[in-house]
C-alpha cells in the first residue's frame, strides 16, 4: 500500500516537472506464487514465493528454516505437483518430512555424495548440488526445487561465484518452477527474487520434559519489485 502511494507521488512529481511520462508498470507474476502457509509472510511476499525465480530461506540453525521448507513441500506435493530436494549435506529425515505432510512419492531426493575426501568434501557437495539442480530444472515439470545448503559454512558458499546462480535463475525463468535455496545466510546475491530471513524467538519446553516448539519471526529481506520489508511476522512451529 505504502509502495503504491510513493509511486503515485513520484508520478505526480514527474508530471508537474513536465517530464510527463508515467513510470513503467510493475511486473505482474505470470504464475501464482507458492504459498508458505504462513499468512503474514505470504502477504509480505505478495502472495508467496515467486515461480520462475530463485528464493532464499535463510536463518541460523534451529530457526525453523527446514520446517518452512517442509510446509512448502507439503503444500506443493499435496496439490499433485512433483518436487525435488537437492540435499547437499544428506540431511533430509524422511520420517520428519512425512509427519509434516509431504507426499514422499512425489518428492525426488538427491543425496549428494559424501564419499569424497573430507578436505574437498564441501566444495564437491556444492558443485554436485548445483549440477543436480540444473539437471532437474532443465527436465521441467517440477513445481518446486529445494536446494538445501543448510549445513554448509557460508564462507564456502560465497566462494562459489555469482555466475552459477545466474545460470540457475535462467534455467527456471519463464517456467512454473519455484527454486528455493535453504542456507544460513543469503548466498545467491542479485539472482534471488526473494529472500526470507528467519530468527528464532524462543523455544518452548513442556513441563521440562518435552521439546514442544520453536517460536520464530520471519521477515522479507528482499523482494524484487517491492520496497524492503519493514516489519516481521511471527509464528510458532510445533
Amino acid at each position: 500500500m505504502e509502495g503504491a502511494i510513493q509511486r503515485q507521488r513520484l508520478e505526480n512529481l514527474l508530471r508537474e516537472s513536465g517530464l510527463g511520462k508515467a513510470l513503467p508498470k510493475p511486473e505482474t507474476p505470470r504464475y501464482p506464487a507458492v504459498r508458505t502457509g504462513w499468512r503474514e509472510l505470504d502477504e509480505r511476499l505478495g502472495g508467496g514465493l515467486p515461480r520462475g525465480a530463485i528464493s532464499e530461506i535463510t536463518g541460523p540453525d534451529s530457526s525453523g528454516r527446514t520446517g518452512l521448507v517442509f510446509s512448502l513441500l507439503a503444500r506443493e506435493t499435496g496439490e499433485g505437483a512433483a518436487a525435488a530436494y537437492v540435499d547437499a549435506t544428506d540431511a533430509l529425515d524422511p520420517r520428519s518430512a512425512l509427519e509434516a505432510g509431504v507426499d514422499l512419492a512425489r518428492l525426488l531426493w538427491v543425496r549428494c555424495d559424501p564419499r569424497e575426501a573430507p578436505r574437498y568434501e564441501k566444495a564437491q557437495r556444492v558443485d554436485q548440488a548445483w549440477q543436480a539442480s540444473n539437471l532437474i530444472a532443465a527436465a521441467g515439470g517440477f513445481g518446486l526445487i529445494v536446494v538445501d545448503l543448510g549445513g554448509l559454512a557460508v564462507r564456502r558458499l560465497r566462494q562459489w561465484q555469482r555466475r552459477p546462480w545466474v545460470r540457475l535463475r535462467q534455467a527456471v525463468e519463464h517456467t512454473t518452477t519455484a527454486l528455493v535455496v535453504l542456507a544460513s545466510d543469503p548466498v545467491a546475491g542479485s539472482a534471488a527474487g526473494a529472500v526470507v530471513g528467519l530468527q528464532r524467538q524462543s523455544v518452548q519446553w513442556r513441563d521440562g520434559l518435552l521439546l514442544d516448539g520453536i517460536r520464530t519471526t520471519g521477515s522479507v529481506l528482499r523482494r524484487k519489485g517491492a520496497a524492503e520489508d519493514a516489519g516481521a511476522a511471527a509464528r510458532r512451529a510445533a
Partner: protein, 496 residues
C-alpha cells in the same frame, strides 16, 4: 465365400508335452508345487480311468490309483512349463504350414481359418498327421462354425467333419461339459434337468437371458451352433535383439553412439509396430581379445523412443566404461505394454517420462547408485536411517484444494539428520547432559528433555540401544544420543 474353420486339439496337453516321442504308453499324471503340497495338474486317459483327477493332492492320487487302478504303475512327472511352451510353439509352426490365419486359442488348442483352401479334407488330414509326427497326437474338427469345430476337436477322435446344416444335430447329443460354462451355471442348468446341449438349445433365448443376463444369450447361441466371435490371428513375437559386428575396433564411446543409434532405431521400430515398449535394456559389447562386457538398464517406465534410450545407454556406459576396444554390439529389450497416460485438466504438470528417465540416469551418474529417488521411511528407528525408493510420480486424481489451511500441513518439528552422526563428549550433572562438545560445537546445555530409549535389531549383530536427549546448546536444538552398548555419545541431528 462360405467360412470354414478347423480346430486342432491335443488331449491331455501337459502329459503329451512331457512324453513327446515315447513309444510305450504308461498311465501318467503331472504334478506341480513343492512337496508336500503337490497337486495333480494333468493326467492322461489311462490315469483318469484309475480314479485320478486334476486338482487332487499327489499323495491322495497315488492311494486312489493303487486301490482302483488297473494294476499298472502310475507314473508321476513334474510339470515343465518350458516343455509345454516348446510343444505349443511346434504346433503353431505346424499350423503356419497350412494357413497363415490361425488362433492360439489355449495350450494344446488351435483354431485355423480354412476358408479358401482348395482341399480342406486333405489339409485336415495333413494337420493330424503333422501333429502325430511331432509326438503330439491330436484331434481335428472341421466345420463352418468356429465353435462347432472346437467342440468336434475336443470330443471326437481323429479327424471329424461337421457339414453345413449338421451343426445343431452334432451339438444336440453332446453333454453340457463341452460348453464354456462356469461351475455355477452348469449346476443351475442341471437343477433344471438340462444335461445335454440339445435340451439347452430348445430353451427360449429370451428366458435364458432373463435368468443369466448376457451369458444366457451366449449359451443359447452356443447350443444352436451359431457363430461365436472373431478369430484372433496369431502373430509371431517380434525379435527384440539387434546386433552389429564391427569391421574395426572402437576405443571411445562417442563413435559407439553412432552404431548404437542405428541399432536402437531398428529396435524401437519393431517395438512400436507391436505397440510395445522396452522395460529393460541389455547391452552386450564384444571386446577385443575375445572378452565380453554386459550392462543392464531397468527403465523406470517402459520407453520406445530411440533418442532417450541412446542417451540412457550413453550415460550408463560413461559411468561404467567397458575398459577395452569394442568390436561388436548387441542390444536386446525386454518388452512391456506401452503406458497409457490420462492427463488431468486440473492437476499440475509432471515431468515427462522420457526426460525424467534421462534426468534420473544423469543424477545417478553424478551422485552414485542408490542416492536418487523418492525418500522412504526406514522400518527401523536407528538414528539417520532412511531409504530411497523408485521415483515415479503419477497424475493425482484429486489434488488438494489450494486453500487448504496450514494447520493441516505442519505436524511436527522438522528434524535434520547428521549422516554420519557427530561423535561427542557429554558431561553429566544429576544424570542429565550438562555440557556438550563436538568437533564443531562446544557449550553448556541450557535446557534438555529426555531420555527416550530406542532399541532395535537386537536379533542381529547390528543391534542398537540408544538413550536420546533433546538438548539446547548455544541457542541450537540438537538430539544427543548415548549408545548404551558402547557408552559413547553422539549427536544425530538438529531440530530446525
Amino acid at each position: 465365400m462360405t467360412p470354414l474353420h478347423a480346430a486342432l486339439c491335443v488331449p491331455d496337453f501337459r502329459v503329451a508335452a512331457l512324453t513327446r516321442g515315447e513309444r510305450e504308453r504308461q498311465p501318467t499324471a503331472v504334478a506341480e508345487g513343492l512337496p508336500p503340497n503337490q497337486f495333480l495338474c494333468g493326467a492322461d486317459e489311462e490315469a483318469r480311468a484309475g480314479g485320478v483327477a486334476e486338482g487332487m493332492p499327489l499323495a491322495a492320487a497315488k492311494v486312489r490309483y493303487a486301490y482302483s487302478g488297473p494294476g499298472e504303475e502310475l507314473r508321476i512327472l513334474l510339470r515343465d512349463e518350458a516343455a509345454e511352451q516348446r510343444a505349443q510353439r511346434a504346433l503353431l509352426e505346424l499350423a503356419e504350414t497350412v494357413t497363415p490365419r490361425f488362433e492360439d486359442s489355449a495350450p494344446g488348442l488351435l483354431t485355423l481359418d480354412f476358408q479358401g483352401l482348395r482341399e480342406p479334407h486333405l489339409s485336415a488330414e495333413a494337420l493330424a498327421r503333422g501333429a502325430a509326427e511331432l509326438g503330439l497326437p491330436a484331434r481335428v474338427g472341421v466345420a463352418r462354425n468356429r465353435f462347432v469345430a472346437l467342440c468336434a476337436a475336443r470330443t471326437q477322435p481323429g479327424v471329424t467333419h461337421v457339414y453345413p446344416g449338421e451343426e445343431a444335430g452334432f451339438l444336440e447329443v453332446q453333454g453340457l461339459e463341452i460348453l464354456p460354462l462356469s461351475e455355477g451355471e452348469r449346476r443351475t442348468l442341471e437343477r433344471w434337468g438340462v444335461r445335454m446341449v440339445g435340451e439347452l438349445a430348445r430353451l427360449e433365448e429370451r428366458e435364458l437371458t432373463e435368468r443369466f443376463g448376457v451369458r444366457g444369450a451366449w449359451m443359447a447361441r452356443w447350443a444352436r451352433g451359431e457363430d461365436s466371435g472373431l478369430l484372433q490371428t496369431w502373430e509371431a513375437p517380434p525379435s527384440l535383439e539387434v546386433f552389429r559386428d564391427l569391421d574395426w575396433e572402437l576405443g571411445e564411446l562417442e563413435p559407439l553412439a553412432f552404431v548404437l543409434s542405428g541399432l536402437l532405431e531398428t529396435l524401437c521400430l519393431r517395438l512400436q509396430s507391436h505397440n510395445l515398449a522396452a522395460a529393460r535394456l541389455q547391452t552386450r559389447l564384444k571386446l577385443a581379445r575375445g572378452r565380453a562386457f554386459e550392462r543392464s538398464l531397468d527403465l523406470p517406465q517402459p520407453l520406445s523412443d530411440p533418442r532417450t534410450l541412446l542417451e540412457l545407454i550413453r550415460i550408463d556406459l560413461a559411468a561404467h566404461p567397458p575398459g577395452d576396444a569394442i568390436v561388436g554390439v548387441r542390444v536386446s529389450a525386454t518388452p512391456a505394454p506401452r503406458r497409457r497416460l490420462q492427463f488431468s485438466l486440473f492437476a499440475p504438470d509432471l515431468p515427462g517420462p522420457e526426460k525424467l528417465a534421462v534426468t534420473l540416469a544423469r543424477l545417478t551418474a553424478l551422485t552414485g547408485e542408490g542416492r536418487v529417488g523418492a525418500p522412504a521411511v526406514a522400518d527401523v528407528w536407528r538414528p539417520g536411517a532412511a531409504g530411497v525408493a523408485e521415483f515415479a510420480p503419477k497424475v493425482k486424481k484429486d489434488p488438494a484444494l489450494p486453500c487448504e489451511p496450514r494447520e493441516r500441513l505442519s505436524r511436527g518439528l522438522a528434524f535434520r539428520a547428521f549422516r554420519p552422526p557427530w561423535p561427542a563428549r557429554v558431561a553429566l550433572r544429576d544424570a542429565k547432559p550438562a555440557r556438550l562438545e563436538t568437533m564443531d560445537l562446544m557449550g553448556e546445555v541450557t535446557a534438555q528433555a529426555g531420555p527416550w530409549r530406542v532399541s532395535g535389531e537386537w536379533w542381529t549383530a547390528e543391534g542398537f540401544q540408544y538413550e536420546e536427549w533433546d538438548v539446547e546448546v548455544q541457542e541450537r536444538l540438537y538430539r544427543a544420543c548415548l549408545d548404551r552398548q558402547t557408552g559413547g555419545w553422539c549427536v544425530t541431528g538438529m531440530y530446525d
